[in-house]
């Protein structure tokens, strides 16, 4: 591994437009990726991979705003559409064609719900993007941390999996690591939610016997995995909280797939 200090850059659309350039792809960071301390590390890992591969990308930076997904799922259609329309004005203003995001909720909303409101883009999730880079040989997991002997289990996000049938991409990404992949009982189309969707993340759960994330983490722990891989900021929080609830945070870690790839690459 080279010891020279790398400098990672995060160009904004405004910078690009000022210099008359257009990026190959817009990285839609999302609110969690921008503000949540834990998920900021995922944003950074992904940006480092983008830099490393030399992809011409840009972010919206301060011009980005919530897609409106949580408002829509909670029932506030008016607020959702206000957000969507404003975002579409910004995106169309920059002539955006292709978007990648590390949040399945942003992914689903941008991909499936913006077209009807005038926002038509090719939208991919970062798992699909990474899968493409790995398949093309542009990302090779070497130079970094070895995953030999580690057991990783992947938790399907509802809005990536069931909502958009993306099941293989994150698994293909993980397969690039030299780790053992172990599956939980409820996976893919039958995957169990982490408990955050539909606005649940933003309120206390309704009365019940158990929290959904605890149920899911118990299932993940039963695989004997030392790493729970996720591909969604809300799953990240819910699974991490669940691991803490089970007092296993010393032996079991929760990582986003891009963090694992970045670790494998020594980025």
């Amino acid at each position: 591994m080279s010891t020279t200090e790398k400098t990672y850059k995060v160009p904004t659309m405004a910078d690009m437009a000022a210099s008359g350039e257009e990026p190959e792809i817009l990285f839609w960071v999302g609110c969690a990726g921008s503000f949540d301390d834990r998920y900021k590390r995922v944003t950074i890992a992904f940006v480092r991979i983008l830099n490393h591969v030399g992809i011409k990308f840009a972010v919206l930076g301060p011009e980005e705003a919530c897609t409106g997904d949580p408002a829509r799922r909670a029932g506030n259609e008016f607020l959702f559409q206000m957000q969507a329309m404003s975002n579409i004005q910004v995106l169309n203003g920059y002539n955006v064609k292709k978007i990648v995001t590390a949040c399945p909720h942003c992914f689903n909303t941008l991909k499936n719900e913006y077209p009807e409101l005038g926002g038509n883009y090719e939208v991919i999730h970062h798992s699909q993007f990474l899968q493409g880079l790995i398949n093309e040989g542009r990302v090779r997991v070497k130079d970094g941390q070895s995953f030999k002997g580690r057991r990783i289990t992947f938790h399907d996000s509802c809005y990536l999996g069931r909502a958009n049938k993306v099941y293989e991409a994150p698994r293909d990404v993980l397969a690039a690591l030299d780790a053992d992949l172990v599956e939980m009982k409820r996976v893919r189309a039958n995957g169990l939610c982490c408990g955050a969707g539909g606005g649940q993340y933003f309120k206390e759960p309704e009365p019940g016997k158990k929290d959904v994330n605890v149920e899911r983490v118990e299932e993940a722990l039963s695989t004997g995995a030392d790493t729970i891989a996720v591909a969604c900021p809300f799953c990240m929080t819910m699974m991490s909280d669940g691991v803490k609830n089970k007092n296993r945070e010393d032996s079991v870690r929760v990582f986003d797939i891009s963090e694992l790839i970045a670790q494998g690459q020594g980025l």
Binding site: Y8, G61, A71, N112, R162, C193
Partner: protein, 457 residues
């Protein structure tokens, strides 16, 4: 004697047809209470879905063994009913095995196939009764699921028992008929040498060896009548039962959602308001209906979201009538699994119960009748709606593509937009999005601060 039987048969048949027509009209009227929506688009894709999911029962094979058993009942239902055609014609014309002399080789194969399936149906119905009431499959138990009250459980028992009785009647009718043919009694002798013993019913023949000829004729007639009257009354019963899925399952799958499961339906009436609020040109509604761009109010502004069944779409209501309460949705629901009140099956059962209640109102007070109840609150509570994670596991689990989530989301829209009844923390999330462009209270100007850490180790 023959003619009396023919008249009785015609009366029974006509009464059934009349009654079922009445029921079908009523149910159609109830389904049409729902809001209009075009579900006749993409006929190729719809047909393909129906062939795979309804006719091919693709989603039932998630559990292979149960899938096979259900397929036996389903195939039995479809195919054994071909025999009903002959039974009806025999009944009307006073004939006996009308088709046998004309298409003998095919006839013999057909009856053997029918008998095999009938035996299969019989066996599977017994197994299904055992699964429900002895093995106590959790999703059917009232202790676990409060919507599994007395009626749904009785309904299931009635259906399975009725099918068992019908199949026994069919098989023993064939057996007694074979014995009568062997003995050359009356008109039964006519098919001697043409129709041999059948595949399954031959094993029931010893049951009748001690019967006198008169007793045997009496049994043969009773079994024939029991079988056909059973089928006719079963057909009527089905219109009141969860078992209506045997008919509505097919159109229900044909009209099911084609968009990705994560996609929520747009509300064009709000699009226009938002466009006006943002000073954008007002475009034509997505559904193609006319909007005006000179700011005139549309003729009628409906409710935002759904409070009652009339506010839902017709397909939601057809979903409710198609649901056979198997509970696969509820078993997959993360909220339900962890002990919350929400049960997607209950959402469907409540919707149907509410429709049935409105029908009762129509009966006594005419079609304009309106009561002061609604699906929201009187049937489905806020606690249930608020527990949903919108994970779509229920939608995925349903073998006939019912979408309970769509109903939940429409009811949520009503609570939030018409009643401002969101939980307090959701209201906080809304105002954060509105003011800070994120669901949390961070300053929008800090949104890009993460980039400062990109080179930190």
């Amino acid at each position: 004697m023959e003619i009396i039987q023919q008249i009785l048969f015609l009366v029974a048949l006509a009464a059934t047809v009349w009654y079922i027509t009445k029921r079908v009209r009523l149910i159609t009227r109830a389904i049409r209470l729902g809001r209009a929506e075009n579900r006749f688009d993409h006929p190729d894709e719809r047909l393909k879905t129906m062939l795979l999911v309804a006719f091919g029962q693709k989603k039932m094979f998630t559990n292979l063994l149960v899938g096979i058993m259900h397929f036996v009942i389903y195939a039995g239902f479809l195919i054994v009913n071909i025999e009903v055609l002959e039974i009806i014609l025999d009944g009307v014309l006073g004939t006996h095995r009308l088709f046998a002399p004309y298409i003998t080789p095919i006839y013999l194969i057909l009856i053997d196939v029918f008998e095999l399936l009938a035996f299969g149906v019989l066996a599977v119905c017994v197994i299904f009764l055992c699964r429900r009431f002895i093995a106590k499959v959790p999703r059917f138990q009232e202790e676990r699921h409060r919507e599994m009250t007395r009626w749904p459980r009785t309904d299931a028992a009635i259906i399975l028992t009725a099918e068992i009785i019908l199949m026994i009647a069919f098989l023993t009718w064939n057996a007694s008929d074979s014995v009568l043919r062997d003995r050359g009694v009356g008109h039964y002798a006519e098919l001697q040498g043409i129709v041999p013993d059948f595949l399954i019913s031959q094993f029931f023949k010893p049951l009748f060896s001690g019967f006198s000829d008169t007793g045997l004729v009496a049994y043969e007639r009773t079994a024939w009548w029991l079988h056909i009257l059973g089928i006719l009354s079963f057909a009527v019963y089905v219109t009141y039962s969860k078992h209506l899925h045997i008919a509505l399952g097919f159109p229900n799958v044909y009209f099911s959602d084609l968009q990705p499961k994560g996609e929520m339906q747009n509300m064009p009436e709000i699009t226009k308001e938002v466009q006006l609020a943002l000073g954008l040109p007002v475009t034509t509604d997505a559904d193609g209906s006319q909007t005006n761009d000179n700011g005139e109010q549309p003729a009628e502004v409906g409710r935002f979201g759904a409070k009652d069944v009339q506010d839902l779409k017709w397909i939601n209501l057809m979903n409710a009538y198609s649901c056979t309460e198997c509970g696969r949705c509820t078993s997959a629901c993360p909220a339900n699994i962890t002990g919350k009140k929400l049960s997607p099956r209950k959402i469907m059962m409540d919707t149907r119960d509410r429709l049935e209640e409105i029908q009762q109102g129509w009966k006594t007070n005419g079609y304009d009748y309106k009561d002061d109840k609604s699906l929201l609150n009187d049937y489905i509570t806020a606690e249930e709606l608020n527990a949903c994670t919108t994970c779509q596991a229920c939608v995925n689990a349903c073998p006939i593509n019912i979408n309970p989530l769509d109903i939940i989301l429409q009811l949520r829209r009503y609570r939030v937009m018409e009643e401002s009844q969101a939980p307090a923390s959701w209201n906080a999330m809304f105002s954060n999005i509105e003011n800070n462009m994120a669901p949390w209270k961070f300053s929008p100007s800090d949104r890009f601060n993460w980039a400062d850490q990109v080179n930190e180790k």
